[in-house]
């Protein structure tokens, strides 16, 4: 069963075509990494999956039904920054999703229900390695810990799809590797379908089951915005070898220079 079907999707802002001719589908449980240079519409595509943006043309189906026009609990998200709520402690941040579900009016739970949610949140925090920081505020955590928290917070909803927008872009290389292990572990355990944007080609290749390269192949020097980016490579990852990686790297770098020159 196809979880997500992207049918001839395009996105433009006025005359500026950002994305065009996106056409593919994703099975439940896949881990898709999306790479490409800045301005090639990776984030725009993620926002369309999220429901924050709507396609200008075409359609995105989730479980065979058109995606709603607003974010919902079946699609969790972790941004590069600001993913967690600064006024809530670590445990409260994770409990929030479950609490909102249990109380329509005040979004807070009490008594036995609260204890149950708390236990569930604690287990998740255990899994991401934050069980020692339950009552701290996000501002007291390092960047890596904040991202761990954001992942736990998203997972309490048991989303069908987890969207990661350069989640490790602001982290140190060593911590990044730890985070890769964590994400892979959680992905295997939960079976959630992951879309992850990254700038780092190596990261794109080493994580996940499928690599999508966003690139601008049609270019018009007179009208740089006339054509949008699309997916130029869509690779199952076990088949990717070093030479493919190298040629993708050089193509992406070339587009990046061209886009920089066009500005």
């Amino acid at each position: 069963m196809k979880l997500i079907e992207v049918k001839q999707v395009s996105k433009k802002y006025g005359d500026n075509v950002v994305l065009e001719r996106l056409d593919f589908s994703v099975e439940a449980g896949e881990f898709c990494t999306m790479v490409g240079t800045s301005g090639c519409g990776k984030t725009t595509f993620l926002r369309m999956l999220l429901g924050e943006e709507t396609p200008s043309g075409g359609q995105i189906l989730l479980d065979g039904k058109p995606l709603p026009d607003e974010p919902g609990e079946d699609r969790g998200v972790v941004f590069q920054r600001y993913s967690v709520f600064p006024h809530l402690t670590v445990i409260d941040n994770v409990m929030l999703g479950a609490e909102l579900k249990s109380s329509r009016w005040i979004g807070k739970s009490f008594g036995a229900r609260r204890q149950e949610i708390r236990r569930e949140a604690k287990e998740l925090l255990d899994a991401v390695g934050l069980d020692h920081a339950l009552s701290r505020y996000p501002a007291e955590l390092s960047g890596g810990m904040q991202q761990r928290l954001a992942i736990a917070q998203a997972l309490i909803m048991k989303p069908r799809v987890l969207l990661l927008d350069e989640p490790f872009g602001a982290l140190d290389p060593g911590i990044r590797t730890d985070m890769h292990h964590l994400v892979l572990k959680l992905w295997r355990e939960t079976g959630v379908t992951v879309f992850m944007i990254t700038h780092d080609l190596k990261e794109g290749f080493s994580l996940g089951t499928r690599l999508m390269v966003f690139d601008k192949i049609r270019r018009d020097a007179q009208a740089p915005n006339a054509y949008g980016a699309t997916i130029t490579y869509d690779l199952p990852l076990k088949h990717a070898d070093q030479s493919t990686q190298d040629s993708i790297a050089s193509e992406v770098a070339q587009t990046s220079r061209l886009l920089a020159g066009a500005k």
Binding site: E73, P86, G107
Partner: protein, 274 residues
């Protein structure tokens, strides 16, 4: 070393901070003494003894006519008006500010009128308030509200708009609806900012309080100052001004301490960013 790289030690900074106060006091005492030497009945720059006498008379002896201690009854009346006005303003700012900041439809509807109202000079409509609400307590409180609420409302709305959009998206992915967003994300993050806005509004609130009391009142700190002006009673006016300044200063400190106690996450965050 360059001047910009030199900073005083803590005790020295305290001394430096006190210095202007001491200089000002000495200048006043000197001038007062000089004038009193020439004319012992001079009213313009009364000496310390005259002022202490006035405070003694107004603050610690019963008024013959009303049987009240005037300084305290004035203070009580003024603070009650000030607190009521600011409480109404703060509640309005919180409610309207949240709606303006979170709901685009409400912003389209109410944004322009709030912006327009905030441009009306409050003192210019004071006569209208007296006509509509009479000369009683209500018109004074309403003046404070009209003087402080619009700015606070716009400040709160802007603070909501300044919150990272990521948080709004995130809450929706956690299954939250519009009401959840206001209650669990926007409101708690706005409260410390409301206290900050209150601190900034204190000056304006006092201004409108004194103005209203000066024009139509039978008690209050502003009333007293303007009453004794007729007798050139600087020995009363000066201690009253010092007292008002002290009250305003204490409120400012109180709000700051309250904010630090109640919202540690907010102040931790600010220091982290600085």
């Amino acid at each position: 070393m360059r001047l910009i790289n030199l900073s005083p030690s803590k005790p020295l900074a305290a001394v430096l901070g006190l210095l202007p106060f001491i200089v000002l006091l000495l200048l006043y005492l000197n001038a007062s003494e000089a004038r009193l030497a020439e004319n012992p009945n001079d009213k313009l720059l009364p000496g310390l003894t005259a002022m202490v006498d006035s405070v003694q008379r107004l603050g610690f002896t019963e008024d013959v006519r009303s049987g009240e201690y005037l300084l305290w009854s004035d203070t009580q009346a003024s603070l009650k008006r000030l607190a009521t006005g600011l409480a109404v303003s703060a509640s309005l700012a919180l409610m309207v500010g949240i709606l303006l900041g979170t709901l685009p439809y409400f912003r389209a509807l109410a944004g322009p009128i709030v912006a327009a109202i905030s441009m009306v000079p409050p003192m210019a409509i004071l006569p209208i308030l007296f006509i509509v609400f009479g000369l009683g307590e209500l018109s004074k409180v309403v003046l404070i509200v009209i003087g402080t609420a619009p700015v606070m409302i716009r400040d709160m709305a802007q603070r909501v708009l300044d919150m990272p959009r990521e948080q709004f998206i995130k809450l929706q992915t956690l299954g939250g609806n519009s009401w959840h967003l206001m209650l669990r994300v926007v409101l708690p993050q706005l409260l410390p900012r409301l206290l900050a806005a209150l601190r900034l509004s204190l000056g304006a609130a006092w201004l409108f309080l004194i103005a209203a009391e000066a024009i139509a009142s039978t008690d209050g700190l502003g009333y007293r100052i303007f009453l004794v002006r007729r007798y050139l009673a600087m020995d009363v006016i000066l201690p009253y001004v010092v007292w008002i300044t002290l009250l305003a200063w204490l409120m400012d400190i109180g709000l700051r301490v309250l904010s630090r106690k109640m919202f540690p996450w907010f102040h931790g965050q600010q220091e982290g960013e600085a």
